[in-house]
Symmetry: C2
C-alpha cells in the first residue's frame, strides 16, 4: 500500500522510516525539492494547494495524510477523490484556527485560557481591558514555533503588537502563569481503538520546543490529559495521531492548542516507547491494531536547533540516539533531535542537563 | 556523506533505515530493479561485477560497503578508485572460499571442523575415508542459506552428492553432533575500536535461519566467542560488522563460517540492543565512535520465510516488531522478520514458541 503524505518535512521523513518496515510505500507532496523526506521516497514537487498534484497524490495513494497542518482544507477536500484523508479534515480545519480551537475546547469542557477574538484595534483595546495584562496576542491562523505571537505586558506593547500583527484576524488571551507545560499524544484507529502515550513534559525556548521528558508528572495529570484527549478524539471520530498541549496551573490542565498530526513532543517514542507515534499513526490510518504506548524507560528528547552539531561529538555521547533531518542550517530551524532512554528519572534528568550543556559549550547551536 | 552499497537486499535496506537518522545518503547497486532497498534510495541497476557501475558507485560515494558477500573481489578492487571499501576485501575474499576460511580459523587458533578440500572423485573417496560418515559436502564458493550443501550419511549419498555438486571445487567436513548453534557479531571501526554484541542462539530449518534468541548461553561461551572474533578482527585490521557462526559441542565453540557484513542473527539488535548492528556498521566504516552493544532485554527474532503473513495478524500480537522486506513471495525466501523483546528469558522463550505456532497455524508459511 502507498501512503500519500502532504508535506515532506522531518515528520514525514520519520513516518516513512517507521512505515518501510511494515512494507508500506510512500509518495510525498512538498514545495521544497530538497525536503527532508524527499530522499527516502518519491516526491511530487509543488505547492501544498496545487489542485492537480493533490489529485495525483489522491489517485496514486489509497490513504492520504499530512505532516504539516497549514495545508489548504478546501484544496484537500476537492482533490480527495476515492482516497481516504486522515486525520479528518474537520479536525484539521479546527486546528488551523485558534478561535475554532478555543471554542471546541470550551464546548467539550476542556479548560482553556480566557480569550477574545480580535478583528480591529477597538476590539483589541476592549480585549485587553476585559482580560488584562499580561496577555498574548496571536494570529488566528498559520502560527507555529512561536511565530505570529506577541506577549503584551504594557500598553506600549499593545500598540506595537497591533502594528506588527494587526493585518490579519487575531485573538487575545490571558497569559497563564504556568508551572509546567505538558502535552498528551494519542492515536485513534479507523476501528475506534484508542491508545494514549505517557504524558510529555516540555520546555520551550523562544517559542520553540527545546526539551521533552516522558513519562512526566503525577498520575492525576495523566488522567486529566487522557480524558480531554479522548473527548476530542471521540468528537471528530478522529483517525491518526492527535496531540494537545496544556499549561499546568494550580493542579489544572489548561489546553493551549492541538495538533492533528504526529508531534515534536512525541519523538522520544521512537526509542522510548514500545511503539513509536509514527508507527501508531500509520497503524491507525490503515485500520490495523494499535501498538502498545508503554514507555520503555525514562526518555529525554532534545531538539537540535539552527544547525547540526558535529556527528562524532553526538555519537561519542553514550546511549544517545541521533536524528538528523538533513535540513540546511538556519537560525531557529529544527534540524534534528536526539533522545536518551534511562532507567531512572533522576539519571535521565542528569543526562539531559549534561547534554544541554555539552551542546551549548561544544557546538554553539545558534 | 553518501554511502555506496553493493547489493540492495534486506540488509542494505536496513542499513539505509539506520543511516538516514544519522543524516547519511545512500546509493545502491543491484541487478534487481525491484530490490528491497531500491525504494528507499537511488539504485544503479546492473550486475554486481559491472565495472562501469562499480566505478560510478566508487566515484559518487566516499565509502563503499556491501550487503551481499558473493560480489566479485577483483571487480571491486579494480573499481575502487578514491573510495574506501569496507569491510576489507581481504576478509571478503577469505569469506567467499570455505577452504580459505577454514585455514584462517586454523591459523588463528580458532577450533573448526576437520575438513579436506575435494577437487575430484578420488579426493572425495579419500576425504570420506579419513573423516568418516556422516559428513557434509559443500561447494567452496557461492553457498548461502544451505544452498550448495549435501549431508552424507551413507556411501550411496556420497555418489549422489558427487553427481549433484562435483562440477565445482568442494570441501568435505565432519558433521558435528552439536547441541547448540550460536553466532557472535561485532564491529571494529577505522580507529580500531571494537564492540561485540551478546551471543546469539540460532535455530536453522532446512539450512535457513529460523529463530535467534539473544543474549544466549553461559558467559564461558561469550568469552570464547569474543576471543575468536577479536582475533579475526585484528588479523584483517577489519572495519565494519563481522559475524562468526559456531557449533557448540562438549563445551567448545567450533567455527562453522564467517560473514563480513551485517548478519541475519543480529536483526534483533534493532529493537533489542542499545545500538543496532546496522548503525554500528555505519559508525565503524565512517570512523565514528561505536555505540553500546548492550542488550535491552531478552530478544527473540523469527524469520518470515516464503511469504509475509497478513499484516493485521502480526500487528495484533502485542509487542511484536514487524520487518517486511517488500520482496515477492517465493518458497524458502526470507521475506521479513519479526522481533520480541521481553523482560525475562522465560517470557521471551514462551512468546517465541507462541509466535512460531501462530505463524504455522494461521498463516501457513510455506
Amino acid at each position: 500500500m502507498t501512503i500519500g503524505i502532504v508535506g515532506a518535512g522531518q515528520l514525514g521523513r520519520m513516518l516513512a522510516l517507521a512505515g518501510y518496515p511494515l512494507g508500506l510505500d510512500f509518495l510525498f507532496l512538498d514545495p521544497a525539492i530538497d525536503a527532508p523526506a524527499g530522499k527516502l521516497a518519491p516526491l511530487l514537487n509543488g505547492s501544498f494547494d496545487d489542485a492537480r498534484l493533490l489529485a495525483e497524490l489522491a489517485r496514486r495513494c489509497g490513504i492520504v495524510t499530512f505532516d504539516w497542518e497549514n495545508v489548504s482544507v478546501p484544496a484537500l477536500r476537492q482533490a480527495k477523490g476515492a482516497a481516504r484523508i486522515c486525520p479528518p479534515l474537520a479536525a484539521l480545519a479546527v486546528a488551523q484556527d485558534r478561535a475554532s480551537e478555543k471554542r471546541l475546547f470550551e464546548r467539550l469542557g476542556i479548560p482553556t485560557t480566557r480569550w477574545c477574538p480580535v478583528g480591529s484595534h477597538a476590539q483589541l483595546t476592549r480585549a485587553v481591558r476585559d482580560i488584562g495584562l499580561p496577555g498574548v496576542l496571536k494570529t488566528r491562523r498559520l502560527g507555529y514555533d512561536g511565530k505570529g505571537q506577541a506577549v503584551l505586558e504594557t500598553v506600549a506593547d499593545v500598540e506595537l503588537a497591533w502594528l506588527k500583527l494587526g493585518a490579519v484576524p487575531l485573538l487575545y488571551e490571558e497569559r497563564i502563569p504556568f508551572t509546567h507545560e505538558v502535552s498528551v499524544i494519542g492515536a485513534r484507529s479507523t476501528k475506534g481503538e484508542v491508545a494514549i502515550y505517557p504524558l510529555n513534559g516540555n520546555v520551550h525556548t523562544d517559542g520553540i520546543l527545546r526539551v521533552t521528558r516522558a513519562p512526566y508528572g503525577p498520575s492525576e495529570w495523566q488522567k486529566l490529559a487522557d480524558r480531554y484527549l479522548s473527548r476530542v478524539l471521540a468528537h471528530f471520530r478522529y483517525v491518526g495521531i492527535l496531540a494537545i498541549e496544556f499549561f499546568v496551573h494550580a493542579g489544572r490542565l489548561i489546553a493551549n492548542e492541538m495538533a492533528p498530526r504526529v508531534h515534536n513532543s512525541g519523538h522520544w517514542t521512537i526509542e522510548g516507547a514500545q511503539t513509536s507515534q509514527f508507527e501508531n499513526h500509520l497503524r491507525a490510518i490503515m485500520g490495523m491494531p494499535l501498538g502498545s504506548t508503554r514507555a520503555l524507560g525514562h526518555a529525554g528528547m532534545v531538539n537540535l536547533i539552527g544547525r547540526m552539531p558535529p556527528l562524532p561529538e553526538l555519537l561519542g555521547l553514550p546511549g544517545l540516539h541521533v536524528h538528523d533531518y538533513a535540513k540546511a542550517p538556519r537560525p531557529g530551524r529544527k534540524v534534528g533531535h536526539c533522545t536518551l532512554v534511562e532507567r531512572s528519572r533522576g539519571e535521565r534528568d542528569r543526562r539531559v542537563r549534561g547534554l544541554l550543556s555539552a551542546l551549548a559549550t561544544h557546538t554553539r547551536i545558534p
